[in-house]
């Protein structure tokens, strides 16, 4: 993406929280911005990369992105990095010490919590990092606040010489609202000043920085008492008052427009005096926060009487319809909203689930089709589109926890095998981007410690799940410009995998893939099978001539359905009793030729050769973009 002319100051724009933060990053004169893609944070760097006058990059992981941003901040420039909640776990090693050094130029981390788990492996509350690292947490409630707080975060960062965490959630990142934007103010880098007592964190130096960190935290708590970010909306109905932060503020204002609210934009360190003064002005004081009872626990420890997770959920998103029944019960009311009865809601009608699927012609389909055919294997999985291989029809992924973990888990499954697993083949599946993010070290461990693991490295030349972003394997940078391209076969060989144990295969060639996986799993040594076909969603993918099914030839065997390709649809079902007495289900199919890209995967298991190239593409019947 090339830099475009940003909208002029005072424009009122419909912006997602991610877009609003990006605009503020640019206006704040940030010089360096880095991130690794991760839902719901991905768009921040995508948008920042379209602004002029700054350096933006895809880093290989979140720790690198924070270290890059920190380096720029040491040089006196303003710097920014964005990540999803679990990304900050990866970056935390750097965080926990750069909180001691502090920063010169402003440094802001935008961390996006996936409250409600739309696309993540856990629902952790990133506000813990503020407590753990003794750094301030800002929590915007909508796009306008995300924009304003980002700008304030840079000011706070420089004033208190600390990294600042901007805590977003999915409902901030992906909600669009109107934002009035401002001017860009360039920021001049002060230049790196050598100061080993500050920047070189050896024990003697670090010991001296710890009291400074605690002093800074006290100063920030004093700031929290006076900042305009922490304000009271005085309300006329004092039966219940709310202390809140983040998107929950909007839900409270919607559900209880007359209630007093103490809104904490700078939520850590919490302003206890302000909170104490507020709590006594209302009959019931309720702390409303997503996800963990962090403010609540700290406020209670101060001896201030509040209610929180006793009545509110500790998991998932809050919303007006979640708050109303809980608060209604607290007030001993049946209906909490006095002016009208709630709409007559009916129970949801029963409808089949529609889980996310792999795409038509996805190069991973062949891999999982193959793995599903193999018996006596344990498959250690990883984070990416290929995690979907755990589902139907493949059921071919047995474990998944965190980025790069497939390698270590596989080695552990190998070394920790019991008698019952004695003959099990251990397979690890990982994508190209995840391999570079955190998988390479695990493979090195497998090699060094002589593990018996077969690694499938699915190189689809994209960060697929987050929308096909570039990485060191694609040969393009964040702007789409040419960049050095990593050679995966060379890397795994350099890590010590024997030359003859490294194979590069086309995942659409099922017999070769099957033979390679079966043979390598028999050999008790580390081996790596690299698949080399691109993600079908990236611009560089080119489809081939589509296929169709000859109705008269289809015998209903259903083998093609085992590929899991969503272009294959069942037209008729039946079952027959075989001479052996066994009942076999049959399913006749058609291929939606208009979406088929001719990958040819389904042709290979088709017993009666009923799948042929379509001469004429039949008009698509379903409303779907392609």
């Amino acid at each position: 993406m090339a830099a475009v002319m940003p909208a002029p100051a005072q424009s009122r724009l419909l912006m997602s929280g991610n877009e609003a933060v990006s605009r503020a990053v640019w206006e704040s004169g940030v010089k360096v911005a880095a991130a690794y893609p991760g839902t719901p944070a991905t768009e921040m760097l995508e948008v920042i990369a379209t602004y002029p006058d700054l350096y933006a990059e895809w880093a290989v992981n979140e720790k690198t992105s924070l270290e890059i941003a920190f380096g720029a901040a040491m040089a006196g420039s303003r710097a920014f990095c964005a990540m999803k909640h679990v990304g900050l776990n990866v970056a935390s090693d750097a965080l926990m010490t750069l909180t001691l050094t502090g920063v010169a130029g402003g440094l802001v981390i935008a961390v996006a919590d996936d409250v409600g788990l739309s696309s993540s492996q856990n629902e952790q509350d990133s506000r813990f990092w503020g407590r753990f690292a003794h750094v301030p947490i800002l929590e915007p409630a909508d796009s306008q606040e995300a924009y304003e707080q980002t700008k304030l975060a840079f000011e706070l960062s420089e004033r208190f010489q600390t990294v600042v965490i901007l805590r977003m959630t999915t409902r901030i990142c992906h909600v669009k609202g109107l934002v009035t934007v401002g001017e860009r103010v360039p920021h001049v880098a002060a230049g790196f000043k050598k100061d080993s007592a500050r920047w070189v964190m050896v024990p003697g130096a670090a010991q001296k920085r710890i009291p400074l960190m605690f002093q800074r935290e006290d100063d920030l708590r004093a700031e929290a008492e006076i900042t305009a970010l922490n304000f009271v909306d005085s309300g006329s109905d004092r039966r219940v008052g709310f202390i809140t932060s983040g998107p929950a503020y909007m839900h409270i204002k919607e559900a209880y427009p007359q209630a007093p609210v103490l809104k904490l934009g700078l939520s850590y360190p919490a302003p206890f005096e302000k909170i104490r003064a507020f709590a006594v002005t209302v009959e019931h004081c309720v702390v409303v926060e997503e996800v963990e009872p962090l403010l609540e626990t700290e406020i209670k420890a101060q001896g201030i009487k509040v209610i929180g997770k006793e009545i509110l959920p500790r998991q998932g998103e809050l919303a007006p319809h979640v708050l109303k029944p809980a608060i209604g019960r607290l007030l001993g009311e049946e209906v909490a909203e006095p002016e009208k009865k709630p709409a007559r809601a009916i129970a949801p009608l029963p409808v089949f689930p529609r889980p996310p699927t792999m795409c038509v012609a996805c190069p991973h389909l062949g891999v999982y089709y193959t793995l599903a055919q193999l018996r006596n294997i344990t498959i250690s999985g990883d984070i990416g589109c290929y995690t979907l291989g755990f589902g139907h029809p493949w059921n071919a992924l047995d474990a998944c926890i965190s980025m790069g973990a497939s390698m270590g888990m596989a080695l552990g499954l190998d070394k920790g095998r019991g008698e019952s697993d004695k003959d099990k083949k251990i397979v690890a599946v990982i994508g190209d981007s995840t391999f570079m993010h955190m998988g390479m070290q695990g493979l090195l461990d497998i090699v060094y410690n002589k593990g018996n693991v077969t690694v499938l490295l699915l190189d689809n030349r994209a960060v697929g799940m987050t929308g096909g972003q570039d990485n060191p394997g694609t040969g393009r940078d964040i702007h789409g410009d040419p960049a050095p391209r990593v050679d995966f076969a060379a890397i795994v060989k350099a890590l010590g995998v024997k030359e003859e144990r490294v194979h590069v295969v086309n995942p659409y060639e099922l017999p070769t893939l099957f033979k390679t996986v079966r043979e390598e799993t028999k050999i008790p040594e580390p081996s790596v099978i690299i698949t080399n076909q691109p993600c079908v969603l990236v611009d560089h993918y080119h489809g081939l001539k589509p296929f169709t099914v000859i109705d008269d030839k289809c015998t209903g065997c259903g083998n093609c359905l085992d590929t899991g390709c969503p272009a294959i649809h069942v037209t008729k079902r039946d079952s027959v009793v075989k001479p052996s007495g066994k009942t076999v289900d049959l399913a006749w199919v058609r291929i939606e030729s208009s979406v088929c890209t001719g990958c040819g995967l389904c042709v290979q298991p088709c017993a009666p050769d009923a799948i042929v190239h379509a001469d004429k593409v039949i008009q698509i019947k379903a409303l779907q973009r392609h």
């Binding site: 909508d142 609202g177 409808v351 069942v570």
Partner: protein, 210 residues
């Protein structure tokens, strides 16, 4: 709050739900409304369920539409309309494309696609206007026009004039040539007509409370 209009746009990942909602949002902004639009988009591209919430009025606070509070349900796929039926207000209107998209779990025989999703919605007391937006789009020459057909269908069921929405739709194609603008103009008109015809045959049309 009755001065806020809640529109729920639903369908399957890849159908253009988010773009359609964004265009609706632009129309509301053009009329001076405050607007919030939200969806969970994480894995939407992978053929999963997508629901996009649009709220507009003098001042919008929470971005989410609560169950039982959608004024209009615009469904790009029949079973998805049924999935979100409980979000409708008692007097709300559902505008539904009759086209079906069956996911692999249905193809594999693990679940069944409802025989008559629109009938089931009506049986549950919902006011439904259904039409085949896909067929209309194909007739006009491109399935991609389906998005504009759906926006045409909702155009006469909003608290503002259809022309405002049409302008916002066509603006999207302003730089893509007169031919594409003309095709979308036709698609928008065809969507309006489909909803109007459905209103005549499927029940008395009532405007959404403004």
């Amino acid at each position: 709050m009755t001065d806020i209009t809640n529109i729920l746009v639903v369908g399957v990942g890849g159908q253009g739900i988010m773009t359609a909602t964004e265009i609706l949002a632009e129309a509301a902004i053009a009329l001076g409304h405050d607007v919030k639009k939200t969806e969970v988009a994480g894995m939407a591209q992978r053929g999963g369920v997508v629901s996009s919430h649009l709220r507009f009025g003098p001042k919008v606070l929470s971005p989410q539409i609560a169950p039982g509070e959608a004024d209009v349900l615009l469904a790009f796929e029949a079973a998805e309309g049924m999935r979100w039926r409980h979000m409708m207000r008692p007097n709300a209107l559902a505008l539904i494309n009759t086209g079906n998209l069956t996911p692999p779990v249905v193809e594999l025989g693990l679940f069944e696609y409802p025989v008559d999703p629109i009938g089931e919605m009506r049986n549950s007391g919902a006011r439904v206007y259904s039409f085949d937006a896909s067929a209309i789009a194909n007739e006009l020459g491109n399935i991609r026009l389906g998005n504009t057909v759906m926006l045409g269908a909702i155009a006469d069921h909003l608290s503002f004039s259809a022309e405002v929405l049409e302008r916002c739709v066509l603006q999207r194609f302003a730089k893509k040539g007169e031919k594409l603008i003309e095709m979308n103009r036709k698609a928008f008109a065809a969507g309006r007509k489909a909803a109007a015809d459905a209103a005549k045959t499927q029940g008395a049309a009532e405007p959404v409370p403004a």
